[in-house]
Symmetry: C2
Subunit: 357 residues, 2 copies
C-alpha cells in the first residue's frame, strides 16, 4: 500500500505577529531552525520515510504560491482547499483529490507543521508504526506523546494499557480537553494519559468508512468533490466543498470513532504555538534564559525572548520574562505568560484595517 504524508499548513499563525503576516504565517517562518521554515522542517523530517514524491501539503489558497515559490514542494504536491472549512475540510479535500486520481490503496500520515521535534529518527519510527497499525487494523490511529510535564496547553488522550495490537499500539479510551494545572498533575501521575499530538494515520478506505458513520453528509460531499475534480470542473468541486460544515477533524470524526489506536512515543515534541515557545523549543537560550536574535543589547535581563529583525538596536535593561520582537514596521512587547494575547493585537489591527497584517 502506498504511504503518503500530508502536512496541514493552512493556519494563520497570528500569535507570531509582528513576524507572522497573512501572506507569511507561522509555518513559513524560520522560528526553530536558522535556515528552515517550520513547514520546510516538517517536509524534511518525513521525506526520508515516504519519499519526496509522497509528501503533500494541504493549505489555504493564498499560501499555495509562497509555498511553491520557496521550493518547499512542487506545485503538484501542494493542495489548496478552496476556502476555510477547518481540518475536516482539509482532510476531505485530500480524500477527494486521492479519489479523483483513483489513488484508493493508500495509507496516510496526517502531520502538523507547528511542532518542534527533537529526535527525528524516533519520530519516523513512530510514524512508521502508526502507518502499519492503520493498514493492519483499518482503524484511525493517532500518536500520543509521553508527557514530560503537567502541561495545561495540550489536549490529552487516555489509553487502555491492558490492550495492545500486535505492533504494540494501545487503544484510546477517549480524548480530554486542555486540563487545569491540578488535573494535569493528576493525569501525568496516573501515567495512562498521553499528549494529543494532533497527528492522524488512516487508510483512505478506513477514513471514508469511519466518516460515513460519524458524518454521512460530509462523506457524501467528498464524493461530489471528487467527481468535480475528476471532470476538471473546479467550480463544481468548490461548490460541493462549500457545503461542508466548519468542523475540526477531532470533533467530526476522532471523538466519534468506535476504535482509535494510539502509538505511544517520546521523541521530544513541543508545540510552537506562540513567542514564549521559543524559550523551550529553540534550545538557543543563553545561560540566563534569554533567546536573542539580531541587534540586541540586554543588561540584567532574564528569561526573555528578544527577537530583532529590524535595523534598530533593541536595548533592554532590568526586564524578566518578557517578549520583545521588532520587524521593519512593528514592535511587539508583552509578558511571556501572556504570549497568547498577541492575538488581541492582531484583532485590533484587523479592526482598523491595518496594513501590518
Amino acid at each position: 500500500m502506498r504511504s503518503i504524508a500530508v502536512i496541514m499548513a493552512g493556519g494563520s499563525g497570528e500569535r507570531f505577529w509582528p513576524l507572522s503576516r497573512i501572506q507569511r504565517p507561522k509555518q513559513l517562518l524560520k522560528l526553530t531552525h536558522p535556515d528552515k521554515s517550520l513547514l520546510q522542517e516538517a517536509v524534511d523530517r518525513i521525506e526520508p520515510l515516504v519519499g519526496n514524491e509522497n509528501v503533500f501539503v494541504i493549505t489555504a489558497p493564498h499560501l499555495q504560491a509562497p509555498i511553491v515559490g520557496e521550493s518547499i514542494l512542487p506545485s503538484s504536491n501542494v493542495w489548496a482547499e478552496p476556502m476555510k472549512r477547518n481540518t475536516l475540510g482539509a482532510l476531505a479535500w485530500v480524500a477527494a483529490q486521492l479519489l479523483a486520481q483513483d489513488e484508493r490503496d493508500v495509507v496516510l500520515a496526517v502531520l502538523t507543521a507547528d511542532h518542534k521535534i527533537a529526535d527525528e529518527e524516533a519520530f519516523r519510527e513512530a510514524v512508521q508504526l502508526a502507518l502499519e497499525t492503520a493498514e493492519e487494523t483499518g482503524a484511525l490511529v493517532t500518536c500520543g506523546i509521553t508527557p514530560t510535564r503537567p502541561e495545561t496547553g495540550y489536549g490529552y488522550i487516555e489509553v487502555d494499557e491492558s490492550e495492545q495490537t500486535s505492533k504494540g499500539a494501545l487503544r484510546s479510551k477517549g480524548f480530554r480537553e486542555k486540563p487545569d494545572f491540578e488535573t494535569a498533575v493528576k493525569m501525568v501521575e496516573a501515567g495512562r494519559f498521553l499528549w494529543n499530538s494532533g497527528m492522524f494515520f488512516y487508510t483512505l478506505e478506513g477514513f471514508l468508512r469511519e466518516l460515513g458513520t460519524a458524518h454521512p453528509e460530509a462523506r457524501q460531499i467528498i464524493d461530489e468533490i471528487a467527481v468535480g475534480l475528476k471532470a476538471g470542473d473546479e467550480a463544481a468541486a468548490e461548490q460541493a466543498f462549500a457545503k461542508l460544515p466548519n468542523l475540526s477533524i477531532d470533533y467530526a470524526l476522532a471523538e466519534k470513532a468506535q476504535t482509535i489506536y494510539v502509538v505511544q512515543a517520546g521523541f521530544g515534541w513541543d508545540d510552537v504555538g506562540a513567542w514564549d515557545a521559543l524559550s523551550r523549543s529553540m534550545g538557543i537560550a543563553d545561560d540566563v534564559g534569554n533567546v536573542q536574535l539580531g541587534n540586541v543589547l540586554a543588561v540584567d535581563t532574564k528569561n526573555a525572548v528578544l527577537y530583532n529583525e529590524s535595523n534598530l538596536k533593541l536595548a533592554v535593561v532590568g526586564m524578566e520574562d518578557v517578549i520583545a520582537v521588532a520587524t521593519n514596521d512593528a514592535i511587539l512587547i508583552c509578558p511571556k505568560d501572556k504570549a497568547q494575547r498577541v492575538k488581541e493585537i492582531v484583532e485590533a489591527l484587523k479592526a482598523e484595517a491595518s496594513p501590518l497584517l
Copy 2:
C-alpha cells in the same frame, strides 16, 4: 542692582536614551511640552522677570552651537565652560565672565533646565523674593520646595522655622542627602524639611566672598580666568579653568557656607530625571496611567510610558509599569522603577563605541 538668570544646561541627560544623545541631551528634548525643549521652557519661564537680555545659559562647548542654532538665546548669552568641571566650574566660569565685563553689581538666579514647574507665576514670585533676599543679606539663598510626598529621589534642606528675614526667608540648618523611604516619611511629617530645588541665588560679591572662605583656591582661579578673558587670551583662561577641582557647588560652597537663606515655595515642581518622570510631569497620562506618544497600540496596558518617535508601530499587550521608547535607530525597554538604569545601556554603548550615542 542688575538681576540676571543663569540656567545650567551642561548635563549629558543620558537617562533619556535613546531620545537623548551627546549632541541632543535631555535639556534640548521636548519632553514636557509639545513644542518646547526643557531649556526653552526654562528660558521662557524666567524671561518675564529679568528680561530677555538678562537670561544666560552656561553649558558644555559641544552644546553651544545647537542651543544658538535653535534660537533659544543669542550666542552672546550662551556661555560654554571650556571643559567639564561640574557645577563649581560652571558657576566659576559665569563669575569670571561677569568680572571680565566689569559687571560687579549683579545678583544672580542660578536655575536648572531639568525641572517641570506647574505654576510659573508662583515660581517667578519665589525667584523675585530669593533675589531680593540675596541682595539684602549678601548671603547665599536657595529655594526649598514644600514636599508633597515622601520622595526618596530628592535631597532635602532642613530649615529653622523660628528665624525669618524681613522678606520671610528662612534660615537653613543644613542639607540632607536623598533619604530612604522611612526617613523621608518622618521628614515630611516633621514639616521643617523642604526639597532641595538645586537653585541658587547670590550677589556676585557674596558668591566671591563665600567662596573665598570655603575654597580659597577656586576663588583665586576665578580671578585668573577673568584676567585671561578680559585680555582676550582664551588659552590663558582655559588653562586657569583647568586647574579647578571637579566639585559640585553644593559640596564646594553651599554645605560649607555659614549662612544660607531658604525661600520656601510650592509651585508644583518635579525633577525630569528619567523616563519614569513623564508619568508625573507631563500631565498627559490617560485614564489607565499611560503616557503615549506616536504610533502606539496598547492593549490591557497600564501605567506605562510609551514614547514612539519611530516609523514602526509600537504594540504592547498585558504590560504594566514599563517604559518603551523607540526612535529611528533604537528601541529601549525597561521597567519604570528601573528607569535610572538606562544609564547602564549608555555605558555599554560607550564601551562598544556605538554610533547610537
